[in-house]
Each structure stands twice: as structure tokens, then as C-alpha cells.
């Protein structure tokens, strides 16, 4: 149960009550960290991205428009950072079969997931980074198509199509992964 809305918390941060940033961190750190980790499969990079997201929330607090919801605003900051990060690494990264198991949940937590989930995350690892990003924005952050469209600089309709096509690709990849 929570009474203080994200919007009220951000107003407090804008007014200088910076310790309130810790409350927003508590609310969103797990989701954002998992978002970064599931897309990048890089633990350290996910840490850095999480830190940078909250540094930017504070830095750009005055650019927040009160008419907007805070949740998509925060996710947009995180998504933009991840997008920049992916651009940097896209020329050097290549996903190998050995990396695949690291994507999604950590190997020591495999007992917590079903065989079908394990196959799904292996299929996720075979998606392009941009596809994995948009699918993770969709299912994990539960970003609306409008928010995805704004982050990816595409139309709302296009955002829906991209999510659908990435999911269809996942479906096709799943067929190739043996049980």
C-alpha cells in the first residue's frame, strides 16, 4: 500500500528534498536493473546504467512536466540510456551460444524457472539487440506503445508492429530450440 504517488515524490525532489530520490530508487531499481540486464546480459553495464538513470532523474528533474506520469518518464530515461549503450556496443558485440544461458535469469536460479521459460530466454538471446530491447520494454516495463514510440522515435503503430514482429520471431526461434 502506498500513499505518496510518484508524481508527488518527484515534486519533492524538484523542491530540493533530494533524499526522496531514494524512495523512487526503491520503487524502480529492480525493474530497471532487470530491464538492463535482460537486454545487455552484462551485469556491470546494468549496474552502471541503473546508477546513471538515477543520476539523470536528478539532473533533469526540472525538465519533468507535471502533466506527465513519472513512471514512463523514468523508463524513457532508462531506455534512452540503454539505447545509447547498445549503439556503442553494437559494432563489437556478437552473441555466441555460450552467452545465451546468461541472458534472463542468473544460472544459479535456473531451478526457479520452467523448461519452457528457459527455452524462451534462450530464444530471447537470439533476437537482435534492438528487438530484445523493444520486447523487454513491452513485457517487463509494461511501457505503452506510445511510450515505446517516443523512445524509439517511431510512430505508435510502428511500435506495435515492431513488438508483434519481435514476438513472432521469438515464436519461430522457440521451434528451433530443443527441449
Amino acid at each position: 500500500m502506498t500513499v505518496l504517488t510518484d508524481e508527488l515524490l518527484l515534486q519533492k525532489i524538484i523542491r530540493g528534498e533530494t533524499q526522496v530520490l531514494g524512495v523512487l530508487y526503491k520503487r524502480y531499481s529492480t525493474l530497471l536493473f532487470n530491464y538492463f540486464y535482460r537486454v545487455t546480459k552484462d551485469y556491470n553495464a546494468s549496474n552502471d546504467l541503473l546508477m546513471e538513470t538515477f543520476a539523470r532523474i536528478h539532473k533533469y528533474r526540472h525538465s519533468y512536466k507535471p502533466s506527465r506520469k513519472v513512471r514512463p518518464w523514468i523508463f524513457q530515461i532508462g531506455s534512452n540510456l540503454l539505447k545509447d549503450h547498445l549503439k556503442k556496443i553494437s559494432k563489437t558485440i556478437s552473441i555466441h551460444e555460450s552467452d545465451v544461458q546468461q541472458i534472463g535469469v542468473q544460472p544459479d536460479r535456473y531451478s526457479e524457472i520452467s523448461d519452457r521459460q528457459r527455452r524462451t530466454q534462450q530464444a530471447m538471446a537470439r533476437l537482435k539487440l534492438s528487438e530484445r530491447n523493444i520486447v523487454t520494454q513491452y513485457y517487463l516495463l509494461e511501457m505503452s506503445y506510445e511510450a515505446i514510440a517516443e523512445t524509439e522515435n517511431i510512430t505508435v503503430n510502428n511500435a506495435r508492429i515492431k513488438v508483434c514482429r519481435a514476438l513472432k520471431k521469438l515464436k519461430a526461434l522457440l521451434k528451433d530450440i530443443k527441449t
Binding site: 500500500m1 502506498t2 500513499v3 505518496l4 519533492k12 523542491r15 530540493g16 528534498e17 533530494t18 533524499q19 526522496v20 530520490l21 531514494g22 524512495v23 530508487y25 526503491k26 531499481s29 529492480t30 525493474l31 536493473f33 532487470n34 540486464y37 551485469y43 549496474n47 541503473l50 546508477m51 538515477f54 543520476a55 536528478h58 534472463g104 535469469v105 542468473q106 536460479r109 526457479e112 524457472i113 520452467s114 519452457r116 521459460q117 524462451t120 530466454q121 530471447m124 520486447v135 513491452y138 513485457y139 517487463l140 503503430n157 506495435r160 508492429i161 513488438v163 508483434c164 514482429r165 514476438l167 513472432k168 521469438l170 515464436k171 522457440l174
Partner: protein, 221 residues
């Protein structure tokens, strides 16, 4: 364009906006995609490394705090700021009751009062009530206290000794009276001993004393 409409139908189904899809092929795909999304959503989340928590903690501590617009400062302000910051960080980085977490960060009496009154819109559980009892004991502002008592009055069956004992330490007449009004309705069986002791107190306001005596006489008749 046709493909796009086909995909829109699929996603409307996956998103739960449509209950079913008339096109058989789209329906098959839609069901599979919905299952994939379900599997993805239900995967366990990784915990954020504690080192990151600490780094954020350090980052927040490093940001200079701006002065509040409405000051309720006193001579212990620097100590209070340090203690409040520490308490806040302890709360933030440990799982706790979010009601308490939210309340802890409120610095001014008007914000605290608004917060307490808004709790009338919520269904409070036992630990919330225990927390409100502890706040009632700690709080200095009588208007906030009266609002807490007014809120707790909605949970008469869940009020226990902690609430009854509030009278022992309370010195503001309007708060004493608010407590007595609620205690009168609780009809707690051990109330009399506490009330006898209360009526014996020196400097008790006449109206408060009369109210306590009236509750006592009703319960002994």
C-alpha cells in the same frame, strides 16, 4: 496494410484489449504470443546488487539538500536532519512497510496531516495500526494527533492496550478528549484501571476529567 491490421488484431488479443480473434490464423499466433509474454513476465527478477544500493546511497548523500519552503526547524535541526536521513536510508534500503517509508520522508506538519487524513481512503492492516499508535506517541503536533485518533476510530475492534496507554503520556486536552471519545466506544474491559489513574492526574482540564469520570461511572453501573 493488411499485414498491419492482422498484427494489430493479434496484439489487441495479446494485450487483453480483445477477448478473441475472428481470423483463425491470427488466433493461433495470438495464443502462442500470449503464452510467450506470460512466460517472460513470470520469470524471476534478479536482485539489485547491494553495491549499487550503496553507490546510490552515497550519490544521494552527496547532493546538497536545499532548504525547505516551510520551516519547522528547531535547535536540534542538524541532528534531526542527520537522524532523519539515516532513518530514511535504512528504510529505503531495507524492505519495510511502505506507509511508514512514505511518512518518514515528510518534513512538514501540513504534509503529515494530509497524509494521515488520506489514509481514510485505505484499508489499514494490523501493522499499519500498530505503526499509527507509535506515531501517536511520538508526534508533537496536537492537530496531527487528533487526526490520527479520528482515523483509528474506524478500527475500534483492532485497538488494543497500545491505544489505551496513549492517555498516560498525553498532556494536550483536545487530544485527551479525542482519545476518551474513542475509548468510550471501545468498552475495553481493562479500561477502568487506566481511567482511574488518569482521573487522579494533577492539572487535568475540568472538561476532560468530567468526561473520564462519566465513562467510568457508565462502566461501573
Amino acid at each position: 496494410m493488411k499485414e498491419e491490421l492482422f498484427e494489430k488484431d493479434i496484439m489487441d488479443f495479446v494485450d487483453g484489449k480483445a477477448k478473441d480473434i475472428s481470423n483463425e490464423e491470427a488466433a493461433l499466433i495470438g495464443h502462442d504470443l500470449k503464452q510467450i509474454v506470460y512466460d517472460l513476465k513470470s520469470m524471476p527478477l534478479e536482485k539489485v546488487p547491494t553495491t549499487t544500493d550503496k553507490s546510490i546511497n552515497d550519490f544521494i548523500k552527496g547532493i546538497p539538500q536545499q532548504k525547505q519552503s516551510i520551516l519547522r526547524l528547531n535547535k536540534w535541526w542538524p541532528v534531526m536532519v542527520a537522524a532523519a536521513s539515516f532513518a530514511l536510508l535504512i528504510l529505503v534500503f531495507n524492505q519495510g512497510n511502505s506507509l511508514q517509508d512514505d511518512y518518514q520522508i515528510l518534513a512538514s506538519n501540513p504534509d503529515k496531516l494530509n497524509f494521515i487524513y488520506k489514509l481514510n481512503e485505505k484499508e489499514l492492516n494490523g501493522s499499519d495500526i500498530a505503526w499509527l499508535n507509535s506515531e501517536l506517541k511520538k508526534e508533537n503536533n496536537p492537530n496531527i494527533k487528533v487526526t490520527i485518533v479520528d482515523l483509528l476510530n474506524n478500527y475500534q475492534s483492532k485497538l488494543d492496550n497500545d491505544f489505551i496507554r496513549q492517555l498516560e503520556d498525553e498532556s494536550t486536552p483536545s487530544v485527551q478528549m479525542a482519545l476518551l471519545n474513542t475509548l468510550e466506544e471501545i468498552q475495553y474491559e481493562d479500561l477502568n484501571n487506566d481511567l482511574w489513574a488518569f482521573t487522579e492526574r494533577k492539572n487535568l482540564d475540568n472538561m476532560v476529567k468530567s468526561k473520564a469520570s462519566s465513562i467510568l461511572s457508565k462502566s461501573t453501573n
